[in-house]
Homo-oligomer: 401 residues x 2
Amino acid sequence: MHPAPSAPRHDPLRLARAGLSRLVEPTDLTAMLLLAALGPVAALEVATGARPIGAREHPVLVRTAAEAGHGPRQVDLRRALARWAPRAAELDAAADLESAARAGAWFAVPEDPDWPAALADLGLFQPVGLWGRGDRRHLGFPTARSVAVVGSRDCSTYGEQVALDLAGALASRGWTVVSGGAHGIDRAAHAAALATGTAVPPTVSVMACGIDRLYPAANQQLLRRVEATGLLLTEAAPGCTPSRYRFLQRNRIIAALSAGTVVVEARWRSGAQNTAHHADGLSRPVGAVPGSVHAGTSAGCHRLVREGTAVLVTDADEVLELVQPLGAAPAPDRPAPASVADGLSDRDRVLLDALPLTVRSRPDHLCRVAGLSAREVLAGLRRLEERGLAEGTGEGWRRRR
Amino acid sequence: MHPAPSAPRHDPLRLARAGLSRLVEPTDLTAMLLLAALGPVAALEVATGARPIGAREHPVLVRTAAEAGHGPRQVDLRRALARWAPRAAELDAAADLESAARAGAWFAVPEDPDWPAALADLGLFQPVGLWGRGDRRHLGFPTARSVAVVGSRDCSTYGEQVALDLAGALASRGWTVVSGGAHGIDRAAHAAALATGTAVPPTVSVMACGIDRLYPAANQQLLRRVEATGLLLTEAAPGCTPSRYRFLQRNRIIAALSAGTVVVEARWRSGAQNTAHHADGLSRPVGAVPGSVHAGTSAGCHRLVREGTAVLVTDADEVLELVQPLGAAPAPDRPAPASVADGLSDRDRVLLDALPLTVRSRPDHLCRVAGLSAREVLAGLRRLEERGLAEGTGEGWRRRR
């Protein structure tokens, strides 16, 4: 029943995707075209220079590029091979898979049945695979019931509080909170989801570094808690450092894995805005939380609203109204302090305004003050009296507090 | 050269409009239809019951109503006459005009050459006249260069500061600030315009009470300063108290007298929102200032943005972008802290990310870390060096701070 010692320890497809994950940076266009045109195994063979691209394969590559809107000159395989060569020389995908397994991690590929279908919305730029930690059975979590809650690392205490409140309220209503595991807003979003979440998994952290790293160091304990009940995911190969480029590419996965994205705080330029634009590009709704116009930490949120990328949201109800399919669960009308004048006709309001608070007014005087007929005043006084808003005696009428 | 003692002291048209201003509440539909159908003099005669409506006049009234979208049943002249009768008995328009004059006030009518043309946008609900204080020559001020800055009476210190900043910046750029003379945001808007305004008049206050009153009492000094260099206006007859109904109707005049309206702070339900809806109904742009989601004082602003009535605005540039005709003066692109990576290609950014800060990296190592070819790394290092971002020695390369 055991495989023969000479049998490959990993299936070729998974091995090829793990190799590509190591070899190329996320969303490398030429690599993604090779993958789409030739499939993982042949793509890796060509990308590593193990063999030249075949005479029949090249037209497929060019056609794939054309279908994706790229001309033949943008498929510069020669330059790409030069770019990949230094890493190709050291490539050992089996070793990567084994070191990941030793670290308690797994590697999922689009061909797996539990691969999140929502990632297909990324098209050519779907991750070549996802390295993960946490219960693998969570990978198929319902992304239609998950919300990305993202924002600046250097958030304000206001932003942190809003992130805690929003993520907590969403998580307690059974929504999975997706974020990036960073300082600031991300950290608050994960923490609140861990504390109050009722969904399985309560929270998912999509990282920019290798799955064997817990970055930033200050969040190690938090990320271990995410791993314990939720998921840590990354497209970067084990050992990879989190570069600025990888952070920005990572954001597309956060956007794709959720029904919508909420930006809690973002500076005028920020990674959170980048996530918002990814979500918008994927036709996922985007919400942005307003704040003080004096706070640089909210400038990016205000920008997103002004540019029409995001809808202004102030609480979890408004977020759900945004991310749920139309009519699924309309946000309740906000309770507002009731006014005594609610439900009064315009004329009765005028009459109420005309009633004195202390002295008493006779109806004929009220007619002149309110600009109403005697009949309207008498009928109106009766209606106001019924509502407990006016009181009359032989001396006249006044407002009742 | 002097008029004969028996000659009327006021022209009949002005006298009739002053009478209507006393007789009917603002925007009283039947009265406005009478005025539009018969003109001021005949309208007042009919409205006071001095004579019945003529056999030829009634069809004109019904046609006017139909043109304004009202059926014949909505023109209930009998009920209206009963409503106006108590005030008609005491009507003395000449005395009103004289008491206003004694208080240093004047009465302007739509037939005057300096009547603000923008008020005609109110259609049927144009004020029957405006009582004013301040230099009458200011009445023809350019409403296309004026902005309404409005908001809650019970504003926060944040809202007050924003109102001072916004109104001050707009006024110093030659815009007239229109507001309602109330506590809170209105007060701050007027005060800032008085302090920094370069337009003539710097500020205009549209009140809900009679022109002989300065309401609220706490703003008396401020309103006297508005009178001294700007304008106080009201459609209410002398002696009128500011009722809730009159406040709400007054807001349509604020909206009509400005190129656009900015709501600085507003509760979920508030008069400032009412002004915003008037402006929106007049196709005037509306801006709303965001604030903390925890502040009830900003809830109405957020609501206006969410409902699409208002555009989110955070400073005077954005207000001007909103209220100025397209292309008149685009708001400058906001200065943002420059990033060292600005203008770098994606690949050079990746390379910059890969450069260590302290130890030095050799190009072959950078190729593997960055996923770039030797040629790309060497050319990229040269470009980064030229920008002062990288420094190389025989031992290798590192990032330069």
